[in-house]
């Protein structure tokens, strides 16, 4: 692969990672959804570029799927949920932003330290791609545990899946069926989440999981 192809793939992967950090940085739900949309667009661009660089056409299908499902359908649906539940302007009392960011950088370092020895004889591109996508997955997990609002936990889950796709597109010869099944299982999970959010709200009048915890009946 030529230097330019390598550099561009590298930049697009890093853009996806940056958007993960942007997700961690945002406090408002609407800004969070915007950052999520941008991450999906960056991911679609990365997939398309890999398809061009590796000459594998099925990656273009992945790119289109990502663009349609993740950059259009899911953000629109999530936004509708947020508007319907009237929590657009909620500012989340999450873990402090600074602490989350420090934890995020440590996770990125951890994933690089983890990937480096395992992939010593792999090409630089694969190694970097794995490091980037592992970081995105870990940051998604961090997002899920550091947020209290159920909608942002769903967004965290979706960004984990973005990390998985990023890993899949970087490895030459990954069969299409894997990506398809990931995409559709996430779609199903998203629908289930959507229904759950409404039910939680109907039942408990809030989406703040900290408050819902008191209903578990353990505290008495």
């Amino acid at each position: 692969m030529s230097n330019l192809a390598y550099d561009a793939a590298h930049l697009l992967g890093a853009l996806v990672l940056m958007m993960s950090f942007a997700l961690l940085y945002q406090r408002r739900l609407s800004a969070l959804l915007n950052a999520f949309t941008l991450q999906a667009v960056a991911l679609a661009a990365a997939a398309a570029w890999q398809g061009y660089a590796q000459h594998s056409h099925h990656l273009f299908i992945t790119a289109v799927l990502t663009l349609v499902l993740k950059a259009v359908v899911m953000p629109v649906a999530l936004r509708r949920i947020v508007v319907k539940l009237n929590i657009e302007r909620t500012i989340e009392p999450a873990l402090s932003i600074g602490l989350t960011m420090v934890a995020g950088v440590s996770l990125v370092t951890l994933s690089i330290l983890l990937v480096m020895p395992v992939t010593e004889d792999a090409t630089a591109l694969t190694r970097e791609d794995l490091a980037l996508s592992l970081s995105v997955v870990l940051l998604g997990l961090l997002m899920m545990i550091s947020r209290r609002n159920a909608v942002s936990q769903v967004v965290g889950f979706m960004s984990i899946e973005n990390g998985l796709i990023l890993a899949a597109i970087g490895v030459a010869g990954m069969p299409m069926i894997v990506e398809m099944s990931i995409a559709f299982s996430v779609m199903v999970a998203f629908i289930v989440f959507g229904i759950f959010l409404f039910h939680i709200r109907e039942r408990f009048d809030t989406l703040d999981v900290q408050k819902i915890e008191s209903f578990r009946g353990e505290s008495q």
Partner: protein, 319 residues
């Protein structure tokens, strides 16, 4: 010998150039900004008139002002002027280039900030104290971010000398780098904070309780104020020249070049500054000021980006 004389000449031209251009850049940013906000705006030459007027006015000193208060404007202005003279603007063939690098630049800016904060506290007004403490809070985040940025560039290029960095970048062997993109973002964020621009501080008023820079210089008047304001303008030019020198050094003349490339360097430098100033004005118009307590998050983000840039150097190819 001829090369040495030429480098001294370019150094003198550079020092004069930054001094002459700095008020124009500030005026240009203000003019573009007022145009974007549908106002007529003062002419871009207004800052020159302001400074000349201030230089003619008498100095009014508080009774309890110490020698430090009187000496600080000179120290600040000198430190920042020297720092601005170190950043290659139109040619990397400068007499001071071998002795001065990025770390010296950060140190000069740091000492200027030290004197400004001390002067802010000297008279003992509450506003000065608030301003100094906030300036130090911003510096505590901005300086590490700047140093991390310097480290990633230095690891990549193998030197901290600005002239060599510019020569290396323009040679094109470096390619597109994630680390460089991250370092650029970090440097832009630091530059916004250090120059007291929106969203960190509002440069166009001293009637806000959240002001930082203006709070420190509230007690200054006459030629002292002219020096402090001039130093702020020089600092804006310095940061823009620094960004241009590291990340867009195209058009700059190199050692061994004659008069023609140097003139072309001057033209491209003016173009870069005009573009940078317009971009700054657009950014400032499109964004709202932050609460002071969110500044930590903003600059923490810059520190994080710079750190990530340094970390990514180790997974990238060929370092």
């Amino acid at each position: 010998m001829k090369a040495l004389l030429l480098s001294v000449l370019w150094q003198v031209v550079q020092m004069a150039l930054v001094l002459a251009l700095a008020p124009l850049l500030t005026g240009w940013v203000r003019w573009v900004k007022s145009r974007l906000q549908a106002r007529c705006g003062a002419s871009p030459l207004q800052p020159y008139r302001d400074i000349l007027r201030l230089l003619r006015k008498d100095v009014v000193l508080a009774h309890n002002a110490s020698w430090l208060f009187r000496a600080s404007p000179y120290m600040i202005f000198t430190a920042i002027w020297v720092a601005a003279g170190l950043v290659p603007a139109f040619t990397s063939h400068l007499a001071l280039a071998p002795s001065a690098d990025l770390i010296a630049l950060v140190a000069l800016l740091g000492s200027a900030r030290f004197f400004l904060a001390l002067a802010g506290m000297d008279v003992g007004t509450s506003f000065g104290g608030i301003g100094s403490s906030r300036e130090m809070m911003i510096a505590a985040f901005a300086e590490p971010a700047m140093m991390m940025m310097v480290f990633s560039v230095a690891i990549l290029v193998g030197t901290t000398s600005l002239a060599e960095i510019a020569d290396f970048m323009v040679s094109g062997t470096v390619g597109l780098r994630v680390s460089l993109a991250l370092a650029l973002m970090a440097l832009v964020m630091v530059a916004i904070a250090e120059n007291a621009r929106i969203p960190i501080d509002n440069p166009s008023t001293h009637l806000e309780l959240t002001m930082v820079h203006e709070a420190m210089v509230l007690e200054y008047s006459g030629r002292h104020l002219a020096l402090v304001e001039g130093a702020a303008m020089l600092k804006l030019l310095l940061y823009m020249a620094l960004i241009a020198c590291i990340f867009a050094p195209w058009g700059m003349a190199h050692p061994g070049d004659g008069l023609g490339p140097a003139l072309w360097g001057l033209v491209t430098f003016a173009g870069k500054m005009a573009l940078g100033g317009a971009a700054l004005a657009v950014f400032e118009t499109s964004i709202a000021k932050m609460r002071v307590f969110r500044v930590g998050d903003f600059l923490g983000g810059a520190l994080l980006l710079a750190t990530l840039g340094a970390i990514f150097l180790f997974v990238s190819r060929g370092v």
